[in-house]
Structures are given as structure tokens and as C-alpha cells.
Symmetry: C2
Subunit: 370 residues, 2 copies
DNA sequence: AGTTAGCACTCAAGATAAAAGAGTGCTAAA
DNA sequence: TTTAGCACTCTTTTATCTTGAGTGCTAACT
């Protein structure tokens, strides 16, 4: 294991450097280090140790005659082995719970609030991910007739997710036509992957629908869109402006690139989705494989209930991020969100613990009539 | 009318200053102005004119011995009376159309794409607003039974918008119970505003539902949420990073505040919703009444079809924004989006011009079973 | 052996001063 | 009314010097 070659004193010194640098944002010299509690040797000794730590790759020197700065590896080692638990006050925890619970029980809302809290409490950028559905195929279709020009197409995918879309028709149709449509879809289109929705399927459907063939094209397009769209989940960022206060991003370009990448969302989503375990993840600098994040770190943790990922909460900030605080904040937030979810499921009647009383994820749609 | 006191020459000089400053971002002096085409007098004359323009409030001087910079009023006058039409190339227009049309016909998608285009073409921050629905009351309820643990609640509000929510039940219910629920809701809750959803309504409903009273609480909560939530529409920002490249925002704080406000979204939404007419709007600096936008300008225009606002496209940038280009870009984008909408309605059979063949605004919901 | 005091050396950052340069306002002549 | 000319102002740039934090190394100390 890396780091095994480090003496206790080296570890202490490395830890002190990382923490000082996180706090001050400047290279740390041997003298200021000497005054810190927990270090009890002369500056010369520290210098020797620092030189060795640098050789081992844990520290870097911006230029001769400057103090040392932790390298990426230094941060990694710090997070893995040196970090101390950050103790949140009861008060803070209570406040988190209070704010989270003051919102509707809608998962979206809670995740967003948690992201805001993460950002506000750490002064970095908070992120919340709502996992995407994987609607590889639709296993069942339903229709709900509204009036002669409107109905709702309800689709259920292989994972049991319910997706509903409002469809407007260009000519009046009776309730039976719409019901028939569902039946035909359940015969023809069920279990077809997106790329199987070709012309032949359309023709066949149009034939079956007879006089109401005009419905087919828009419906198929809707289904196609549903199957292909938005698979990766949703990412919400809060407190982007917080990044500006860290002079770690020197060139505005660099920061601009980062913002651009964040806006794209897919890179971050990929990053977050790639992690398979339920633990808290810390990706430091180039570990994240997102090029533009070489000066940044990201900490995130999925919220898992009954084996299912309800969402991911995280924080993105500069390399020199207060990892102790961030880790604890994320843990705490995930814990609280999880508890809230549990409370909701506790409302379910006994013996049905796994059921969630109410869970609403379908966004509203609005459409103007005529 | 303000500006009537300005001689032609003053106008020309003001115009040249504004345009030079937009291009260069620096105070403009009399000498560099003299060399510009359209100006044919000596620098001394220009100096005299500039002094007067400053006295009238159209120009400002960062310090003695610096050139002049347009004041907010200067920009206003420029936009109102001096601006020249920016000619977009056929190529650019074709490209806009191509990119817009390559997307699904979903309004959300088109608006987002338009916002991205606005940002990419102008190098400022693009914005797209999807107007909110005003679901003051629900006028009709429908239910669609999925299985014994799931159904979809469909609500239609006074404006005819369709809103659907997926409801999970904690104990198995038959199709008839769910159908009955719709009937009862249509008797009891129809046309009730959010604040009328009180305990007495709940008790009454629970009585009517008899053995299935447990369904009532989550349903009422869902309806309440639907009635109250998210009324203000949705705002999407693209190219926020672009703001970093303009040194007009000197302090990172200022920019951070701006980003924070943008993130809040409600201020911008309010701003955009306040405008009643369908014209393109230009709000310069403090005109927008959003305090943090004193150094910024915002240009936006609603897309109106058949008397209904489908969305708003706009651009936000520094005060020293290329208004000519931005105005033209926004006009063009709105035009193209409108055309696309028209094309869709053109697919409707003759005599039904107002109908839109397909229009999907309902977001998908996902929910795990069991 | 490991630790520490001492010292020469390095190099960014800050201070000071001088020079440059862009731009102005004003006056007087065209 | 316009313009050339000029003195004046004030920022920006450049150069030079100084400061000081921090280092590495050596030699003495424990």
C-alpha cells in the first residue's frame, strides 16, 4: 500500500501541510508549520522531511524559495489515511433536518434542497443527481381518454417505471378509438427497442388503425423519444457562483471551461453513474477523467434505499477543498434524506415496510387546448 | 422625446463611441474616433461634442484624461434610435433552422436548443423560458389504472392543461376503487382552490372512500402540490461561462452575486413575465430592477402563436453587449421557432389550422415497483 | 543516527521612481 | 463654427531596488 513508507512524523507533517493549505490557500513553509500543535521539531527537521515528501510525490513546490503545496497524491493520501472526522454540531444537524423536512416529500424537491444545503454549508458547488430510468423497452401501454382531441399515453417499462405523455389529436376521435390504440400498441410495439421502431412497424400500425392511421406517426415518435431520451438522469447544480471565490482557478478561461462542462451535465452524470458501490466517493483532480476538472475535486454519495438508488448528493470544488467538512456534510445530508424517505415508508401499514406511501416523480405537462 | 436636443453630428459621435466601446471594451478617445468612417471633423470638435454629450448624460468618463464610455442612458439611446440592423447571412439563418429542426418537436427541447444557439452565436448567456401553467383550480380528474399498486392521476385545469401524476398505493386496490376515486374527486374537489383543501374536505373524502380512505391523504397532498407548485414557469440558462470572459465584471464577487441570482431563477422569471407586449425587450442595467444586474443587460422576446405565449428566448450579457447582433439573433431565433411550430400545425388537416398535431410537454416519471 | 542552529542563496512580491502615452480642456487663430 | 496647438492630468508601463519568506546545506550538538 502506498504511504507505508511514511514515518509517523512525515504523516503528521503532511497532514499539517494539507490542512494549512486548505485553510490558507498558500504554499506552506517550514516555520509556520513548526508553530502548529502536534509538530514538535525544528524547522530544519521539517525541511528535511518536506524534501523527502516532495521526492515521494506528496508535495510540490511552486518555485524554489516557496513553501510546499500538497500534490494530488498528497490530497489522496490525506483523504485516505490522515483525515480527521469533522464533527458537526447537533445544531447544524438539526437545521439540516429541519430545512429538508420543510419541503414537500417529493424526491426531486428534497434532492434539490439537499444540493442547496450542500452548497451553502460548504461554500462549494452542490450537486444532486436524480437517477435516470432505463426504459430500454416498453412492456405495457395504457391510454386515458380525456376528450375528443386529447388523451394521455401511459407507458410502463421493463423496470416497472410509469411514464405518461399527453397527446393532442388533430381530429376528433372517440373514446373507443383511443382504447383500441392501446390494445394495438400492446400487440405490436410492446417490448420493441427504439431501433426496431422502423417504417414497417409504422405501416403495420397504420393498417391496423384503419381510418385513424393519422394517429400513428406522432405516437410512434413519442414512443421513440421516450425510449431514447434522457436516460442518464438529471443533474442539478447549485452555488456555481461559489467557485469564483477560489483563486485556485486562475485563468477565467479555465473556469469558463469548467462551467461549460458543468452545464453540459453529461460528463458529470457519467462520472457519478460510473461508480457502482454505495460508499461516498472522492475524486481528486485527474482521477475523475474529466479533463477540465484537473484543478477540481468532487465528492458524492448515492442515497440507497432497499437496494435502489434514489439519488446522488455531492459537492464540487477546488482541489484544495475542505474534505473533512465536505465528507461529513455529504454523509449527513444523505443520511437525513434517507431518513426522510424512511419516515415516509414508515407511514405504510405494518408488514408492508418496503412500500412508499406516496412517491411522485412525474412532472406536469401543460398544453393549451386549440 | 429625449435625445431630440442632439444634432446629427452628436448622434453620429455617440453611435461611433458606443460601437467602438462595444467592440473594444475600453474608453474611446477623440483621436481614434476621428479616424472612423462617418466622422469628418477634427478631434478638437469631437472633444467639444463629447463634453456636451457627457453633460447631457449620454457619456461618462472613468477619470480625467481617459476617453469616454457610454452611460446607461447612452446605450438606451443607441438601442432606441441609432442602432443599425445587423444583417445575418443566409448561411447563418439556414444553420439556425437546421439545428433547430434537427431536434424533436418537443417545445422544451426546441426552446433549450434555441437558448443554446443564442448563447453560442452571441457569446453571451442564453436564456429560454417556458411559461408556467396557472392551475388555479382543477376542473376535471381522471384516473388510469395500471395495476393493483399503481395508477395515474390525470388532472385538467381551467386553462385546459393536462397534468398527470403517478400514484403508488400501499395496499392493493381494484380497478373499480380507482375509478370510484376519480368520480368522487370530480364531485368533491373539482374547482377548489389550493387553500380550500382543508381538513374538512379530507374527512369528507375519507368518508366517501370508506374502506379505502387511506388513499385520500396522499392524493390530496398531490393535488395540493400540483395546484401550488412551479407556477412561474421554467428558466433555462446556457453559456453561463461566457460571462467570465468579459472583464466588465471586475470583482469576482459581483459576478458571483450575478450567478447566484441567475441560479435563483425567480428574479429573472419575474422580469421576463412582467413584460406584457410581444415585442422584443431590451433592459439595460438598472432598468431591469434586478439590483445585481446593474452591469448587465438582457434582451428577450416571447414567442407567440395564436395569442398564446409558447416561450421566451433571450440573451443576458454585460452592459456593453453587441445589441445589434443580439437583437437580430433573438428575432431570428424566435422567428425560426415560431416557424417550426407553424409547420407542425400545418400538418393538421385543412380547416383545422390552429391545431397542433403533436405537442408533448409532460415529463416522464419513473417509479420503482415494490 | 537523528536533530538543530546557522548561513548563504533564490526568487516572487512589493515599493519606488521615472518615463511614456493617451486624452483632455482651453485658447486663439482660421 | 471649426480647428490647430499646447499645457496639464492621470493611468499605464517599465525598470530598478528592496524586502522577506523559504530553501538547502553544512557543521555542530545530542
Amino acid at each position: 500500500m502506498y504511504g507505508s513508507e511514511l514515518s509517523n512524523r512525515k504523516k503528521q507533517i503532511l497532514k499539517a501541510i494539507v490542512e494549512s493549505h486548505i485553510e490558507l490557500g498558500e504554499p506552506i513553509g517550514s516555520k509556520s508549520l513548526m508553530q502548529l500543535p502536534g509538530i514538535s521539531c525544528s524547522s530544519a527537521t521539517i525541511r528535511n522531511e518536506m524534501a523527502e515528501l516532495e521526492e515521494l510525490g506528496y508535495l510540490e513546490q511552486p518555485h524554489t524559495s516557496a513553501g510546499r503545496v500538497p500534490s494530488q497524491l498528497g490530497y489522496r493520501f490525506y483523504v485516505d489515511q490522515l483525515i480527521e472526522h469533522y464533527a458537526m454540531t447537533k445544531n447544524e444537524i438539526a437545521q439540516i433536518d429541519r430545512i429538508l423536512k420543510s419541503k414537500t416529500a417529493e424526491l426531486d424537491q428534497i434532492l434539490l434542497t439537499a444540493s442547496k444545503l450542500a452548497s451553502a454549508m460548504t461554500n462549494y458547488t452542490g450537486l444532486a443527481v436524480k437517477p435516470g430510468r432505463s426504459s430500454a423497452v416498453i412492456t405495457r401501454f395504457e391510454t386515458a381518454y380525456i376528450d375528443e382531441y386529447n388523451f394521455v399515453l401511459i407507458m410502463i417499462n421493463a423496470s416497472g417505471n410509469v411514464i405518461s405523455k399527453h397527446i393532442r389529436m388533430t381530429s376528433p376521435k372517440s373514446q373507443s378509438v383511443v382504447a383500441q390504440l392501446a390494445a394495438i400498441l400492446n400487440e405490436t410495439v410492446v417490448n420493441l427497442p427504439a431501433d426496431a421502431l422502423n417504417m414497417s412497424v409504422m405501416l403495420r400500425l397504420e393498417e391496423e388503425m384503419g381510418a385513424d392511421a393519422e394517429l400513428v406517426a406522432p405516437i410512434i415518435k413519442t414512443i421513440y423519444t421516450t425510449l431514447t431520451e434522457n436516460d442518464g438522469g438529471e443533474l442539478q447544480l447549485t452555488g456555481i457562483g461559489n467557485l469564483l471565490q477560489y483563486r485556485d482557478y486562475e485563468s477565467p478561461e479555465q473556469l469558463g471551461d469548467l462551467l461549460g462542462t458543468l452545464e453540459q451535465k453529461d460528463e458529470i452524470l457519467k462520472l457519478v453513474s460510473e461508480k457502482q458501490n454505495d460508499d461516498i466517493s472522492v475524486l481528486i483532480g485527474s482521477e475523475s477523467s474529466v479533463k477540465v476538472m484537473n484543478n477540481s475535486a468532487i465528492v458524492f454519495k448515492p442515497i440507497v434505499r432497499d437496494g435502489k438508488t434514489l439519488g446522488v448528493i455531492g459537492v464540487l470544488g477546488p482541489l484544495r477543498m475542505d474534505y473533512a467538512k465536505v465528507l461529513e456534510t455529504i454523509e449527513r445530508l444523505c443520511g437525513s434524506v434517507g431518513e426522510i424517505m424512511d419516515e415516509y415508508s414508515a407511514l405504510a401499514p405494518p408488514g408492508k415496510k418496503n412500500n412508499v406511501t406516496k412517491e411522485i416523480d412525474i412532472k406536469d405537462g401543460n398544453n393549451d387546448p386549440s
